[in-house]
């Protein structure tokens, strides 16, 4: 556009540009784009909210904006279905998984980040290789193993498996974060007579809060989304989880649970969405730690 060399003049040119019809057209285009995309994004969300307020119970008769909205399906969830049990089970599994995963992984990561011992490198490489093997390709094995251990159809069996499966990948993630914490801090603590354990709890943990929150959050959320292992490991009605229950409502042959599903889905989505909103900062940090830093 301009061959001027001084930056101030370029800025001047830019300011003038704002007034041209071309920029107005461009801006209109940008906003049209934003608004159509917003509709594209929000439609499913609004649709399911609207559906949950429909008086009927089938997909066919429901509309996005019901004429006489009702909360009856929310009530029915608690009175006519096992929804409270599913919710309780899922919360329990999620919470236990969060504790187990966080402890196991941070312990491992701390040792690999801070200690130099015989066998360290072979172990790290082994973990790396294991990480490559998608954990749920081992469905059959897990099933037989838990059967053998008497942990089939128990929540603890499921949690053990979840916690174990996340170790390889997350150990590397957390270790990478720990590596960035200066070792001089540990040494200073050691000089003051701290043991390895106190160094871990007092120095490393507080400085690694962002990544630990990320780890805890992902291991808490995981069980809400997984369906495969739950359907494999849990079989009885009183052990069922939300993922299993909601899935059945949608895929079941009878087409009469649609609005119930909608209500159930919303009650799951609300707390999790709020959790994400509050912890957004940590999530972005955790996610981008896999990117190449310039």
């Amino acid at each position: 556009m301009s061959t001027n060399t001084s930056t101030s003049e370029i800025k001047l040119v830019k300011k003038k540009k704002k007034l041209t019809p071309k920029t107005i057209a461009l801006r209109a285009l940008v906003y049209t784009f934003l608004i159509t995309n917003t509709i594209f994004i929000l439609f499913p969300v609004l649709w399911i909210i609207g559906s949950s307020l429909n008086p009927g119970n089938s997909l066919y008769s429901s509309t996005m904006f019901p004429k006489n909205p009702t909360f009856i399906h929310y009530k029915e969830l608690f009175t006519k279905t096992d929804y409270p049990i599913w919710y309780k089970n899922t919360l329990k599994i999620a919470f236990l998984n969060m504790i187990f995963s966080t402890i196991l992984t941070t312990f491992n990561a701390y040792v690999f980040s801070r200690f130099r011992f015989k066998g360290r490198k072979p172990l790290l490489v082994t973990i790396l290789v294991l990480q490559v093997f998608p954990s749920f390709l081992t469905l059959t094995a897990v099933y037989v193993l838990l059967m053998n251990l008497g942990l089939y159809n128990t929540h603890i069996g499921l949690v053990l498996f979840y916690a174990g499966a996340q170790i390889p990948g997350n150990t590397w993630l957390i270790k990478g974060y720990f590596d960035q914490i200066p070792k001089s801090l540990d040494e200073a603590a050691r000089v003051d007579g701290a043991t390895n354990f106190t160094t871990f709890t007092r120095i490393i943990m507080p400085l690694a809060v962002p990544i630990i929150v990320f780890l805890a959050l992902t291991s808490f959320i995981g069980p809400w989304m997984d369906f495969i292992f739950q359907s494999l490991i849990l079989s009885s009605a009183e052990k069922k989880t939300l993922a299993m229950g909601l899935m059945e409502m949608v895929t079941g042959q009878s087409n009469t649970k649609f609005t119930l599903f909608a209500a159930g889905a919303i009650l799951v989505a609300i707390p999790i969405t709020i959790l994400y909103a509050f912890l957004q900062k940590y999530i972005v940090e955790g996610l981008s730690s896999g990117a190449v830093k310039s």
Binding site: N37, I103, L139, T140, P168, G176, D179, A265, A291
Partner: protein, 421 residues
């Protein structure tokens, strides 16, 4: 001290004896306990396990004179065999340590228990993790791989009614040789790769586009737009997928709308080609927000002077995008892009929740038009009990995915600071 070393040879036979003589009681008793447990409980278990994994059982299911069912359960035997081998390896490790330690001089310093714990801290801290790794990950993997070399499948080779046999490479020959298997494998494989590429590329570019537009200078209240665009990421994935399944279903709102404007209802999820398109579309909705969130921070890290100097050279907006933004973003996100590819390659949940692999493809064995390798494995395992073939395909996925993940991993920060290779 020399005197005490004389007894070190004793630890070849009695583990921990030398340590006890040196006065290292805790260590000594622990080692002794390992030996006792191995002899009393370990050896019978190991013997049965090793016999089991070698033969996979010999007694066919039958009722004895008392009317009690008698049988060898091949799969349980195989599992016991693997557990035995893993435990034997661990015990050998402890044994070697025991002998080496016996020849070492006793620690000179007087140490308290606290110091002892602190010195071996890393081993104490890492043991729970390593044990879970061995038994919850390594063990199932070894098991899965071994199944590929057996005939473990319905209807004739299913314990406890029947025994399972080792068959060598026969399953691999069959999957490549038999037409119906071969056809399914190649068909599903091609769709899996196509899907993984399309799913990754579309959500990457839509995410990039969103980030660029939201962050462009003319847009007001950026925070609002960013929040709206991140919503799909915050909604639990499974819920979104089930909602999408309903939205695109035969009597769902999309078809209602189409009918309303006077067109024919479409089989969004039931027409083979359209179903694939719909899946990519849905995945875009689910995946683009993740990339947008990533891009936003990466875009702000691109040095401003690059744009300024290109302004001076008279570059157009498109040229800047093409020659500065995209290369910079691609460079930063390459490892994530690759792991996203690997993730989509195995994106079981989406396929299972939205189409269930359907519509049915009569030319395929146990797979539908939109089945990925992974959901095909799932169906073979849970619905058809074709464990042997499921394992064969599992090994194939592993061989495809492993190099990809390994490559992306060698580029990550955590790995680079570690000079492993």
């Amino acid at each position: 001290m020399e005197d005490k070393k004389k007894y070190a040879w004793l630890s070849y036979i009695i583990m921990g004896s030398a340590q006890i003589m040196k006065g290292e009681y805790i260590k000594g008793i622990f080692l002794l306990l390992v030996e006792i447990l191995t002899i009393v409980f370990g050896i019978p278990y190991f013997a049965h396990g090793l016999w089991g994994i070698w033969t996979l059982g010999v007694t066919k299911f039958h009722f004895n004179e008392q009317g009690v069912a008698v049988f060898d359960h091949s799969i349980f035997l195989m599992l016991q065999g693997i557990i035995s081998i893993l435990l034997i390896l661990i015990i050998i490790g402890i044994y070697v340590y025991n002998v080496r330690d016996a020849y070492k001089a006793k620690e000179e310093k007087k140490t308290t228990l606290r110091d002892k714990i602190d010195r071996n801290f890393h081993w104490i801290f890492i043991t729970p993790g390593l044990l879970s790794l061995v038994f919850l990950i390594l063990l199932p993997i070894v098991f899965t791989i071994l199944i590929a070399f057996t005939d473990y499948s319905a209807p004739y080779h299913l314990p406890p009614r029947n025994l399972v046999r080792w068959v060598g490479l026969q399953n691999f020959k069959e999957i490549f040789g038999l037409k119906i298997w071969n056809k399914t494998l190649s068909g599903v494989f091609i769709w899996t790769v196509t899907w993984a590429v399309l799913a990754t590329v579309t959500s990457f570019f839509v995410g990039l586009m969103w980030a660029l537009i939201v962050n462009s200078s003319g847009v007001k209240i950026k925070k609002l737009w960013r929040t709206i665009f991140i919503i799909p990421y915050a909604v639990p994935g499974l819920i979104s997928m089930l909602i999408m399944r309903l939205i695109f279903s035969g009597q769902g709102p999309i078809n209602d709308f189409i009918e309303h404007i006077g067109l024919q209802r479409l089989g969004w999820l039931t027409d083979p080609h359209l179903a694939k398109f719909t899946l990519v579309l849905i995945n875009m909705w689910l995946g683009a927000p993740y990339f947008m969130a990533l891009m936003t921070s990466i875009l702000t890290n691109i040095p401003k002077d690059l744009y300024e100097s290109s302004d001076i050279d008279g570059a157009t907006a498109f040229q800047k995008l093409r020659h500065i933004t995209i290369p910079m973003v691609l460079y930063s996100t390459m490892p994530l892009l690759i792991s996203s590819f690997a993730y989509n390659f195995n994106n079981f949940m989406l396929i299972y929740a939205v189409t269930g692999g359907g519509p049915v493809n009569p030319n395929y064995r146990y797979a539908g038009h939109t089945d990925l390798l992974i959901s095909w494995i799932y169906k073979m395992t849970l619905n058809q009990q074709q464990y042997h073939m499921a394992s064969v395909v599992t090994i194939m996925i592993f061989l495809i995915i492993a190099p990809i993940v390994a490559f992306s991993f060698t580029r990550s920060k955590s790995f680079r600071e570690e000079d492993l290779i």
